[in-house]
């Protein structure tokens, strides 16, 4: 069945089709319509789930952790300051090895107050041990929620499904909604190895001495390292069942490209338009859209960028005192891979400043006319 859905509701439908059993959320700004629709679905019986309304995002994640450890498939959604408020509990979820799936709308961090898009909210949670999927269409949002539950539950690692504010969250697109029976066949019920139950009582996440803490973190990282292959495998399985592949990154015309634009989120779909336009005028450019940021898909990025002369990484985020965050990762991926690739790091679109095909033309022009970047950060569109 096809429906015209905004990105927020694509998240809701993804959570509904995944048969989420517990949804805990704080309902006020910076919350979005994701949980509004889910609360309606819970109220009218469309979704057989317990909806827990809480007084803060910190409590929302705490409720999700409790539900997940008891063995429920658990979903929540947030954005920006709400995600920041959850920060402590994000570590509890991943360290507790709970496969919670959360939608996050990429909104710029205050101050000044902003409800417009950039990625600093989710990228600030980079080291919390959550997987992060950056989506570029509402279809991908819905599909990725279902896949994320599957990957998360296999690895016991939580996932964030991330979409740009407004350019996806409030933008309506045609979305193919899979049949419930097909989703059920793809995603079996959550059956955790350990759960909190009176039948087999255990103390979870108590005091852990230096004799054991290190090994627990080692195990988390080892399982995280299994994620890239599992994401590709479950993505192919999804394609066989639903006709849409869900991978780690998209390669659009990178093979013969003189300049490869590296993007994430909706900037990726805008970049494709720019790539098509530029190719019409004889400029060989391509676009590598990185979808999965954690775990970082080193092998895929290396394979696509190998022997490329110029790589232009477009960041809608910034690590103050360093560079754009995807640029750091791409440079780290290319380290030791042979010389000859120059990485240009661009920062643009902070706080919801539009990223348009013209932005990409400017980016490509600079990369084509310079042997190397003149600055660590190449600022595009800042009024100076």
């Amino acid at each position: 069945m096809k429906k015209v859905l905004m990105g927020n509701h694509a998240l809701s439908f993804g959570a509904m089709l995944s048969r989420s059993q517990v949804i805990a959320a704080y309902p006020i700004t910076p919350q979005t319509q994701v949980v509004e629709l889910l609360s309606e679905m819970c109220a009218d019986g469309t979704l057989d789930a317990r909806f827990i309304k809480v007084e803060s995002e910190h409590s929302a994640m705490a409720a999700c952790i409790g539900a997940s450890i008891a063995g429920a498939r658990t979903f929540t959604a947030t954005s920006a300051q709400g995600l920041a408020l959850m920060h402590e509990l994000l570590h509890w979820a991943s360290g507790g090895r709970l496969p919670i799936v959360m939608g996050n709308i990429n909104r710029a961090m205050a101050p000044g107050w902003s409800i417009w898009s950039d990625q600093n909210d989710s990228l600030s949670q980079r080291d919390t041990g959550w997987m992060q999927f950056y989506c570029s269409s509402n279809q991908e949002v819905l599909d990725t929620v279902i896949q994320a539950f599957k990957v998360s539950e296999k690895l016991s690692i939580p996932s964030m499904v991330i979409l740009d504010a407004f350019s996806l969250s409030h933008t309506y697109e045609v979305v193919n909604i899979p049949d419930q029976a097909d989703v059920d066949a793809y995603l079996p019920p959550f059956d955790p190895l350990y759960r909190l139950t009176p039948d087999d009582p255990h103390a979870f996440n108590g005091l852990t001495s230096p004799e054991h803490y290190f090994e627990l973190r080692y195990k988390l990282e080892r399982d995280m390292e299994k994620a890239p292959a599992l994401i590709e495998e479950t993505g192919r399985e999804y394609e066989r069942q639903f006709g849409r592949y869900l991978g780690l990154a998209d390669n659009y015309l990178c093979e013969d490209a003189d300049v490869v634009l590296v993007t994430s989120g909706t900037a990726g779909s805008t970049a494709r338009v720019a790539v098509d336009d530029l190719r019409k005028s004889g400029v060989r450019v391509g676009n590598l859209r990185i979808k999965v940021f954690r775990p970082f898909p080193f092998d895929t990025v290396r394979r696509i960028l190998k022997n490329k002369k110029k790589v232009a990484v477009v960041d809608r985020n910034i690590s103050y005192g360093h560079h754009g965050i995807f640029a750091q990762e791409v440079k780290s991926a290319l380290y030791g891979q042979g010389e000859g690739t120059t990485v240009f790091g661009y920062v643009c679109g902070l706080g919801g400043r539009d990223i348009t095909p013209q932005t990409f033309r400017e980016i490509v022009d600079y990369a084509r006319t310079h042997e190397a970047p003149e600055e660590g950060i190449l600022w595009i569109g800042v009024k100076r």
Binding site: G95, Y194, A203, F204, N205, L207, S209, E215, K219
Partner: protein
């Protein structure tokens, strides 16, 4: 305590033997947190109405019910006083810890 387990320290020799999360590593048993206590609950069981609220509210599960009456496990009771505050019969009093 009828169901009291032995507070033995668990040490795994390899990560392969460990659960993936900090589950039942024994630290809740071998850490005798009762030594933190400054004041101790004393229960006048003759006034106890057997409602079980002290058992329910104790955040350290340091109250067991034996023959329908509450018994404090002083190895783990930190002396927070919640049981005394909640007791509707007023039969739990907090007294200065004897050293």
């Amino acid at each position: 305590m009828t169901k009291k387990k032995e507070g033995k320290k668990i040490v795994f020799q390899s990560e392969k033997e460990m659960p993936m999360m900090a589950m039942s590593l024994g630290s809740m048993l071998y850490n005798k947190t009762g030594s933190w206590r400054n004041i101790r609950p004393e229960i006048k069981t003759e006034a106890c109405i057997r409602c079980g609220l002290c058992w329910k509210f104790c955040p350290d599960t340091a109250i067991e019910i034996e023959d329908e009456l509450p018994v404090v496990d002083y190895d783990y009771c930190k002396g927070c006083g919640i049981c005394a505050a909640e007791c509707p019969a007023g039969c739990i009093v907090m007294v200065e810890e004897r050293r």
